[in-house]
């Protein structure tokens, strides 16, 4: 056991003495957490609307007023030709075009159900959100107009209509804050990127500069060697995770619904598998360059297939299955579940068990991969 301690001491000193790397490990994640979290939002703050009015009636004014009154939309252009509208949309000057055709008011009064045309520019990921907001506003106008007309038009309708009174609740993120959702996820991927990179280049570097020979002739067993390499980065990862949570709490006021004790317990298990993958890569390659390319590949898989930015459930079935292999996917589930939903041990035992299994499997493979006779 004493021998492990010396290896841990050596690794710690090596990290602490490299000023440039220390800066990279500490400053880059903090800056990125603060900067990049605010970028991860689909929220539509202000959409510019072009209003094409070919009717110039009371009804068309009702529509334009409803949009002007909403905080999310501002009518930046008025036009009377649909052709102009198409051009502004292409040039990206407006996000959507609202078209009230001629005769709208007249048909409305006759109960002919005329159409309002809504054209959104579909080249942005927020197009769906813009469309849904605009439809909501129009439905509001329709409901108002309908209520006003009902005395004349619906007098013949049966008195006893079946009615549904729908109450809608949004749970776990009532104010629909993106920061609450993204900050824990971004923190997790940052800790993962740094931990995996540090471990992945570690053994490869010793191989490249030849110092691995010295370690090979020490009495350290293969298991002790891997554990000794893992421990300092494991502690560093937990420390970074804790500091990051503190920063996210101060800067973004993220919720802490569940138990932190539970969260850190699972984080410890998760880091074992994430760093284990790094060591496994490091033990199997010959040069730092190879280690870097393999690590990059693993990290992008984490980045895009763990439900970090886009949900796993939106992926095609085969990709969803593939995402199960990512330890990060399970850990992010736990982090968000515990922080935002207040999930307890009974709710997260399944992803935790998977993480534990991955950790044991990966460490075993890493120990077997490392060979003391092949330098």
């Amino acid at each position: 056991m004493r021998t492990i301690f010396y290896l841990v001491q050596k690794e710690t000193l090596q990290v602490l003495r490299d000023r440039v790397m220390l800066f990279q490990i500490i400053m880059i994640p903090v800056v990125q957490l603060l900067l990049v979290t605010s970028a991860a939002t689909f929220e539509v703050r202000q959409a510019d609307v072009q209003f094409v009015d070919n009717d110039h009636s009371q009804a068309s004014r009702r529509v334009s007023e409803a949009f002007a009154a909403s905080e999310r939309f501002s009518i930046t252009e008025h036009s009377s030709s649909a052709e102009n509208a198409s051009r502004s949309l292409q040039a990206g000057q407006v996000d959507l075009t609202l078209h009230v055709p001629a005769g709208f008011d007249r048909e409305l009064n006759r109960g002919e159900q005329p159409a309002v045309r809504l054209v959104v520019s579909g080249e942005k990921a927020s197009a769906g959100v813009i469309q849904s907001y605009a439809q909501q506003i129009l439905q509001g106008v329709a409901a108002d107009l309908g209520a006003e007309q009902s005395p004349q038009l619906q007098s013949t309708a049966p008195a006893k209509r079946a009615q549904l009174d729908v109450g809608a609740r949004l749970w776990y993120n009532v104010t629909l804050e993106y920061d609450d959702f993204m900050a824990p996820g971004i923190l997790t991927i940052l800790v993962t990127i740094i931990g995996t990179l540090l471990t992945a280049q570690n053994i490869a570097r010793e191989k490249e500069i030849g110092t691995i020979e010295q370690l090979n002739v020490t009495p350290l067993t293969k298991g002790e060697f891997i554990v000794g390499k893992l421990l300092p980065f494991w502690a560093l990862g937990l420390l970074e995770f804790a500091v990051g949570l503190g920063i996210a709490w101060l800067a973004f006021d993220i919720p802490f619904e569940g138990s932190l004790f539970l969260l850190f317990g699972v984080a410890g298990i998760y880091l074992t598998s994430a760093l284990g993958i790094g060591l496994w890569i490091s033990a199997s390659v010959d040069t730092q360059q190879q280690a870097m390319f393999v690590t990059y590949f693993v990290l992008v898989l984490y980045l895009f297939m763990s439900g970090l930015f886009t949900p796993v459930t939106s992926m095609p079935a085969w990709a969803e299955w593939f995402a199960e292999l990512s330890p990060l996917k399970h850990f992010i589930e736990v982090v968000r579940g515990v922080l935002m939903k207040g999930a307890g041990p009974m709710e997260i035992w399944q992803p935790t068990a998977i993480l534990l299994a991955y950790g044991i499997l990966i460490l075993t493979v890493a120990v077997r991969q490392y060979s003391k006779t092949k330098a």
Binding site: R45, R117, F293, Q350
Partner: protein, 368 residues
Amino acid sequence: MMNAFFGLIRKEVYHILRDRRTLTVLLLMPLVQVLLFGYAIRTDVEDIRLALVTPSPDAETHRLKATLEGSDRFHVTRLLRSTDQLESLFQQGAIDQALVVESDFASALRAPSGAGVLLITDAMNPNIGRIRQDYAQALLGDYEQSLNTSAGGIPFRIETRARYNPTLESAYFFVPGLLAFVLTIVSALMTALSIAREKETGTMETMLVSPLQQWQVVSGKVVPYVVVGFANAVTVLGVAYSVFDVPLRGSLGLLLGESLLFVLVCLSLGIFISTRTDSQRTAMMGTLVGLMLPTTLLSGMIFPISSMPDWLQPVTHVVPAKWFVHIIREILLKGAGLDLLGLETLVLVGMAGVFLGASTLSFNVRLE
């Protein structure tokens, strides 16, 4: 002098060609990534798992359940009698939505106040949460209509269309962004280690005593990789076009030209990182830690820049991928020409100049 320069380029080309394994990885990796993530990165809301809570199941709640299941989006995965378990199911992530129906639903429907139903949506992810709620409310509206056979109710219809991407297909937004991401990182990685490696292995000494000028060493390291980077650009564009059906509405020549320029920017960025670091370890950390998240989040590839807070939007200007994401989407989806993309192109040219210039200046001819 020029002889020495060509000598250096020849040396670099041999380096690339003789390491077959790395070359294969370099050429295949972008292709595999675009194929994989082009399918994986999407925000379509499908397969909503819904729990239907009804204290007294009757024929009418069955009809409601059938309506929900009739739409492809909803799957009623749980039928519960009470709301006791709901919280735990949401916390486990076993359900996305719950619909709680009043007891004695059928007769409540005909009562003057109407039947009360409560729709609970997991909105942890705000975007997805809202869309799920919209879908469910629309479906419940249809269901209510179907109960009342008499027409009327809606005074006007809303016709909605999406230009440039009629079906709001996720691949259309995300694949062009993905191209920018993959080209950025792979290109920067190719050159980031090159000078750091020579420093670490000691071969830098040989280079320093040669008659090569600083700028020649820097550009000699970049030029050979331009070919590899451009090959990457061509293959990933091919995948976008043939596999994901991303349209090419603009000029192919312009598209390839801009891609070449962008590859050059990223290679220059890589060489800049390389001249500023002493070891492969710090070069690698700098490239991956420094580029992965900013390129993903500040380029507009997934999250629109117009949604970001005002103080953050100017920060995105320094991200090279931001300009390329814009250029490539304009060319592919809207058929824009160089006249509309002049500013963006100039910015990229400027960036390549700054990175190459700064690398030449910070390239130290003396070893410490």
